[in-house]
Every structure is written in structure tokens, then in C-alpha cells.
Symmetry: C2
Subunit: 231 residues, 2 copies
């Protein structure tokens, strides 16, 4: 095990946000160790997307951890008995997976500790935290505080940082930044109900936000859609 101040763990879902985060971390000079989860998603397309993105954007390595949150149910993303929403509702969406970001950051922390990495990157952003409690800035701050108490690094007086570079960005800004850094968004999958080849449904919450994001960014939407709703 060698100490490397340059190592960073990047949570990589295969979606557009985390791909942009990986591109940002690489631009900042970090050696990026990408981490994805097989957590009971409805489809495997996003993990294939994560593998493509990790390779294209120059991650040092990419690991996928099995962590079956569908054991507990409670989310439309992991529980097939709950219907996917076609439009945003009030409050916390049914697509919220209980404590998902807490669990993902914790596992990233475990890996960071083994790698002696002092940096963890996560792609939470303003659009999400309107509905998901674990996307709020206060949550990220609380996790950073915890991380420094939970680890050797903290005991040894070193500081571990949780980076959430998209936190204050709109979807359109994320897309512009990603394109500027060479992210090929055609490689990414955002859709909650993508088919096996990664084609997007075009109608779920995530697709609507993505479509709107490209429109607002004034950039061509390279996503492959099965159907595309009328604007």
C-alpha cells in the first residue's frame, strides 16, 4: 500500500452527472479510482455505461461492488412493485432510494482508506436536492465531518475532503461543463427505465430533466431515445 495524495475515489453511476464529475476530477489532476454499485437497479445498462465512461475518461481503475439495497425495498428504482413516475410530484420522489448516498459514500470511504486517498467525489446537484434529502449541501458537510472521525486519516490528523463540484450547477451548466471537458454524453445513461442497450425511455423524470438540460444548454442532445415526448 503506497500513500498517494493524488488518489481520489469517484462515485460513478453511468449517468451524465457523475461522468462530468470524473472529467472535473481528472482535469484537477487526480488519479481517479471509479466506484459503481450493483445495488438492485432495474436494469444493467447504467453499469455498462459506467464502465465505458471510466475507460474513456481515463480512470486508473473501475470497480463494481454488489450491494443489494432491494433487500429492503422502499424505492421505485429497486422495487418493481412501485410504478415509475412520469412527471415530478410533490415532496420526496418515489425514485429516492433510502439512504443511498450515505451508503455509497461510506463504501467509497472504505476504499479511500485502503488507497490512502484523501478525496472522494460525488455528483449530487441542485436539481436533485430539491427532492432528495441526501443531496443537500448540509448532508455533504455532515458526511465530511463523519469521514474525518471514522478513519485512520482523521486519527492521524490528515484531512479527508468530500467534493461535490456539481452542487450549485443547473443541468444545463453540467452539460456545458461536461462537453467542454470532453465527456461523450452518448455514453451515459440517465433514464430510470433504459433498455438493455442503454436506450432511454424519453418519458421518465430523469429523461425529462436531461432533455430540458440539453435544450437550456443550447447543445444537441446525443441521447438515444426509444420515444421522445412532445415539448
Amino acid at each position: 500500500m503506497s500513500s498517494d495524495q493524488n488518489n481520489a475515489v469517484i462515485l460513478l453511476s453511468g449517468g451524465m452527472d457523475s461522468a462530468t464529475v470524473l472529467a472535473i476530477a481528472r482535469e484537477q489532476g487526480y488519479a481517479c479510482h471509479a466506484l459503481s454499485f450493483r445495488y438492485g437497479q432495474r436494469h444493467g445498462a447504467e453499469l455498462q455505461a459506467a464502465a465505458r465512461v471510466a475507460k474513456t475518461l481515463g480512470a486508473v481503475q473501475h470497480r463494481v461492488m454488489d450491494l443489494d439495497l432491494s433487500l429492503f425495498g422502499g424505492s421505485a428504482l429497486t422495487d418493481t412493485r412501485i410504478d415509475l413516475p412520469e412527471s415530478p410530484g410533490e415532496g420526496i420522489p418515489v425514485t429516492y432510494v433510502p439512504a443511498r448516498n450515505t451508503v455509497f459514500l461510506s463504501v467509497a470511504l472504505a476504499w479511500a482508506e485502503v488507497l490512502q486517498a484523501r478525496h472522494i467525489f460525488i455528483g449530487v446537484n441542485a436539481v436533485d436536492y430539491s427532492g432528495y434529502p441526501d443531496c443537500r449541501p448540509a448532508f455533504i458537510e455532515a458526511f465530511e465531518h463523519l469521514a474525518n472521525l471514522a478513519t485512520r486519516a482523521g486519527v492521524e490528523g490528515q484531512h479527508l475532503t468530500i467534493h461535490a463540484p456539481l452542487q450549485q450547477m443547473s443541468k444545463a451548466e453540467i452539460i456545458r461543463r461536461g462537453v467542454a471537458l470532453g465527456v461523450d454524453f452518448a455514453e451515459t445513461v440517465t433514464c430510470y427505465g433504459a433498455d438493455d442497450s442503454g436506450r432511454a425511455c424519453g418519458v421518465c423524470d430523469a429523461c425529462r430533466l436531461r432533455i430540458q438540460g440539453f435544450e437550456e444548454a443550447g447543445l444537441p442532445d446525443v441521447t438515444r431515445y426509444l420515444a421522445r415526448p412532445e415539448p
Copy 2:
């Protein structure tokens, strides 16, 4: 999904501490949902112990989540290339699993959210936190703060509590308390290198602390040992 103020998630390893925690939570009137992990331990004896203990002490249910922390290595408990210590050393022990309690509490939080449980119990204690950063009281407080920011409960103004009832107790006090509450410690496995039938090695750190605990408690040690070192 029904709301139940009485529901609690109990982290149950199969060792003596978490068995005592389960007994304490039951005595306090909680409906106990026991959670264990198949996280890459060297042996399966402790999971069998957890199943026995959950049943004997009246848990409502017991679930085992697969979460392979050995994917990252870095601990003698999950990495067979690192030798187990025969006596306590300086600083953080090699048996420390990076960020383990953070990961376990996070998954417990996910389940608590689905169960609408407001209580999570964990068996960290004073003997452990001399060496493990994620057993310190400040760590538990930081996790509770995080839990309330990370979840629906927090957003909806309800409070989630992390209970660590053994925190200030010595091993001897834990044993006395457990025996008083009807814990059969013969059902538990503490040893880092137990054999398949749950017999303890008698020489590792965990065995030494256990032997010493029974001696200090002035109670007969019901553990089945393969070998027992001279005092």
C-alpha cells in the same frame, strides 16, 4: 409499509457485544430487526451465531446483507494475506476493517428508513475505541447528525437516534449485563479465527479480551475453545 415508533434496527455480528445490545433493546421494548453482513469475513461461524442469537433473543426478523469489503482489502479480517495478531499492538490494529462501522450504520439507516424505524442500535464499546476510530463516541454522534440530514425522517422533522448502550462499559460489565438479560454467550462467536463449528482459537486479540472479561466478571466462561492459553 406501516409506521412503527417501536421498530429498531440492531446491528448483530454474532459476537457477545451485539448479542447483549439485542437483549438490551428487547428489554427496552423495541421490536428488533436484526441485520448482519457477509462482508468477506474469514469464516462463516459468526453469521451462524448471529442467526442463533436473533432467534433466541426474540428478534422480529434477521437479514443478512452481502457486502464484500474484501474487494478493497486492507484488513486482517478480510485479507488472508495479512496475519492475525496474537497480542495487542500500538495504534490502530490490523484487524480494523476500513470504515466498517460507517458502512454498517449506513445500511442499517437504509433499512430503518424503509421500516420507518427511528432507532438503530450498535455494539461499539470502550475497549474497542481505544484502537478503532469508528468506535469513538464522537463518531457515533457524528453519524446520528448525518442520519437526521440524510433521511425522510430528518426532512419531516422526526428524530433518528443511534443507540450505543455499551459505549462506556467494560467487557466484564457487558458480560454481567448480558447474563442478567438471559444472553447465552455459548451461542456467540467473538474469535477472529473460529472454526466452522464456532469453536474459538483461544489466542487471538478477541479471545484474550473475552477470556479476561469472563474472569473480571467473575462468571464461568461458556465459550468452546480449541486451545486456551495459560493465564
